[in-house]
Symmetry: D2
Subunit: 308 residues, 4 copies
């Protein structure tokens, strides 16, 4: 299969590597050229513009960071929409508002193309391991065509409904992920300020009813180890995703109280200099207010005594 | 071991059953007598007051619903504090403010007694299965004495620190549990309003980064099945627990933004008639605003296609 | 002075009337033609497009409802930017993001034109009475030119700084106005539910430290009289203005907690069917939750006894 | 009239001075004796305990800081309730939960006494000028008796309903006052960060629809002049008052979203060291996040040009 892949960032790069491994022929484009060269060494063709990439492909994939980049790559000159030919299938992996997915789909379908929105969950680690969850919106027949390619990058592939259903699903996941990180930090700061050893607190909470993936991810990997500068997902990214969620909800007449409050706390965190740090750095302003640091004190967990 | 057990509610009853099964000798007291009779049939002794129960025991356990009940049972006439003898060990399972745990501990220690605060996580189901998580505050030697008894009711027994450390830990868990239920409801309502099948949405979210125990618990067991009237944990209960959290945080100088907002949404839910329904009924006002119902439409999950 | 005026809505119409009264020569344009005819009868010229209006004028004024309309009128075909000639002065009265004001200003200045952003406060009543407050951003010399015209529509004319400073100021006022309406409703519902007569409560609050313009406006004119369907400012409008505020704050790294929460409560109100009702209808969902109605019971105020 | 006055703090002292000026005979009690001596010099009698003060009086007045002090003075040994004789009238000026007012009233009425809750608005300045607003709950005949005395300390005297109606009214005012201070700070920080001169911004806002007493009070007197350490009303006080409001609302089934969020921001401010500073210091954490200072830059207001 001849694939055009546009956007070689932290998610795009490992996805392209897995597609190359699977034997697909790739034409790649990226705003900054240096990344492209590395893939040319691995057999990919370099494309000078999104449009040039499109012309060499059966399937076009874009993996971009934000709606501005998406608009530029799709609607700019030498962009995807300009160059698309009837019958070509375009897949967008970006987490954007469903309304934008539908706008992209409309423009491509109007020119005879096909479109799937297919945001993913799992982060750079999941992309590298090809274990991403892929949430797909679009026509069933287009999903069937694309499924074998999705299986090169992920393990849970879901068809959620028409165009926009993929990004709608992703937006729901981002609400859960984003707010949960703020929540985990509120609880860890309170417990630590109350005198509980943070590592011990984590060991209990992960076995109790309040457990979550955000707790398991953020506390040991980032918070206790004070590892905020090696981000898996940055504050700026979740601010953008919560913006998608809040705007989508507003348009639909859905009240999003927690997501709105949590977004403000990420904005607080970004304003204090952590826009490019991991989302778990939302704990830093809370720690400053409380006057505590939620860090590993001993390398040892709590004294646990399990009954069996 | 001779145990006095005070408070035979939805948590206390299965705990007493497990203690009886383990061969302990129990004197039980409850405000409403009818429950006591059932245990007398199983070999427990009935006590007419908390104080009377205390006089028959080596270890005194209380399992009460709220701070008002705790104050009455400990500080009322014929209460625990009045009757406690030097050397007796008192264990309180209630989820109350750590400040109240310390107040109880102070009063008991002043009379020569010993005290542990030992709130549990796992609900009536965990209590019945003897798989509770027990979070204990108090002296290490008292913890050692009590551990074999805790092992009759739970599987994860943690010593968290001095008196108050058990309830401090529990309060952190309740923040996570309570807010997470509100959060799950926000995401499910948004996705459903956006046109995604709720059951399919759940199947994706539980495999994505936003997953949590609250999601796994609330969505299939209560929300999709519209089963709010068979509560595992009631709205009134989480309002009280978040009150504990917010008051504790205020006293410590910790900002709890999400917990405060979530508490208001549970208050909204209670005001609309759901105080005694399951905490997941916090979705009901959101559904009314959005004009959707997050229910199982088909009995079938999403079309999943896992790659491996 | 030859003026082109584009946008004859609830604010634009009384402003045009005052400009005509002051003897200015006007070319007017509006999407719906019927309004235009009325002004033609009063001596204004009809313009078939924004561009056509521009060509007949020394000064161009636009008074539009939302950013979508602004973009269409400025950047659409036959729009203002297309038609502007060097030296012409354009004044935009809309409440939009300062970033959009700067975008308009840049486009017009690039073509040799001049630009002022000049949002107003005072509503249709203030527009009719020519008592608007006008908050102006742009060059001092352009402000000097425009001042006599602003004085035809308002009494407090402020030059706030460069292009964007007018809308920045307005956005701050809209935060205050919008959130204050929610706040007044929270207080009135609580007091009424606590058993206080709402009219009596209002009489006290307007003489106490919590008094505000929103209280004086919303309680007697809309809430006590249940007059939500004769809006002075609609829910949809404040949702849009708070969106401007939140987006502006996000871009600047400013946390806006109350504005974010209040916006969600207006979204709740709009979703329940009140998008076109007065902003004070934000009380309606609160009343339903509390189970009270904050209405005039007697026509009489509280028993007041002033000492002097 | 023989008056017992208990509590000679920042509000009580000027009230006592005005009562002495009006020719009343006073027995005064205060926890710290030094303040008492000053009034003895002015002709008041010193009382060694609340109970001793009660025995010398026709009317008993208490003016205390928080519910803990109120409980101690009313229910402690040698307290008011212990010493009250049939027919004596007790007036409490404290801002407490209406539920506590009713608890005081019940205890006093049970002993044959009479009770009015009569919180005031106006602060130490209003107390000194005898221009307080007094919000009174209790029997109409008791209000009639007390009215001439209230007129010694205030100008707006309102009878709001039965016992508890005074504090219910005050609690509504405190929501408005407290939240409005946070709101004013959000708007001023946003405008300043957007580049508007803070003094100019204030001049516009006070003439626009978002104006409020909090704006008029906080901005010139505290914020622009950076005068947070000479408080008129301290952060700790508003945290307590919002606590009253939130607890009252919870008991009544009223959702208080803004008050809850605002309370957390005052808690943030207190935690950062400003518990004893003026409530307007809630701007300090916001300024730190935004990286701006909302201060008077020039001593000059904006360039205003009023049309008439």
């Amino acid at each position: 299969m001849k694939i055009a892949f546009i956007g070689l960032g932290r998610m795009g790069r490992p996805m392209v590597e897995n597609l190359l491994k699977a034997g697909h022929s790739l034409a790649v484009h990226n705003r900054s050229r240096s990344v492209v060269e590395a893939f040319v060494q691995q057999g990919a063709k370099a494309a000078g513009s999104p449009g040039e990439a499109v012309q060499q492909a059966d399937i076009v994939m874009s993996c971009l960071l934000n709606p501005e980049q998406v608009r530029e790559v799709y609607f700019g000159s030498n962009g995807i929409v300009d160059s698309i030919a009837p019958g070509q299938l375009v897949i967008d992996f970006a987490t954007v508002e469903p309304a934008l997915s539908r706008e992209l789909g409309d423009a491509i379908v109007k020119k005879g193309g096909r479109f799937l929105d297919a945001p993913v969950s799992g982060g750079p680690t999941g992309a590298a391991a090809a274990t991403l969850t892929v949430m797909v919106g679009g026509e069933a027949e287009d999903f069937t065509v694309a499924k074998p390619i999705f299986e090169c990058v992920g393990t849970n592939i879901f068809h959620m409904g028409p165009i926009g259903a993929g990004t709608s699903t992703k937006v729901c996941n981002q609400i859960l992920t984003g707010v949960n990180h703020v929540l985990v930090c509120e609880a860890m700061v309170l417990g630590t300020k109350a005198g509980i050893d943070p590592s011990a607190l984590f060991e209990v909470l992960r076995r109790s009813s309040g457990r979550s993936n955000a707790l398991e991810r953020a506390v040991p990997n980032f918070i206790l180890s004070r590892n905020f500068n090696s981000p898996a997902f940055v504050v700026e990214g979740i601010i953008k995703d919560l913006e998608c969620a809040i705007r989508t909800a507003k348009a639909l007449g859905v009240r999003l109280m927690l997501a709105s409050v949590a977004q403000q706390m990420f904005i607080e965190t970004a304003a204090l200099g952590h826009a490019q740090d991991d989302v778990s750095s939302v704990i830093l302003p809370m720690e400053e207010i409380a006057g505590v640091t939620v860090m590993n004190r001993s390398g040892k967990g709590p004294k646990e005594d399990s009954a069996r």
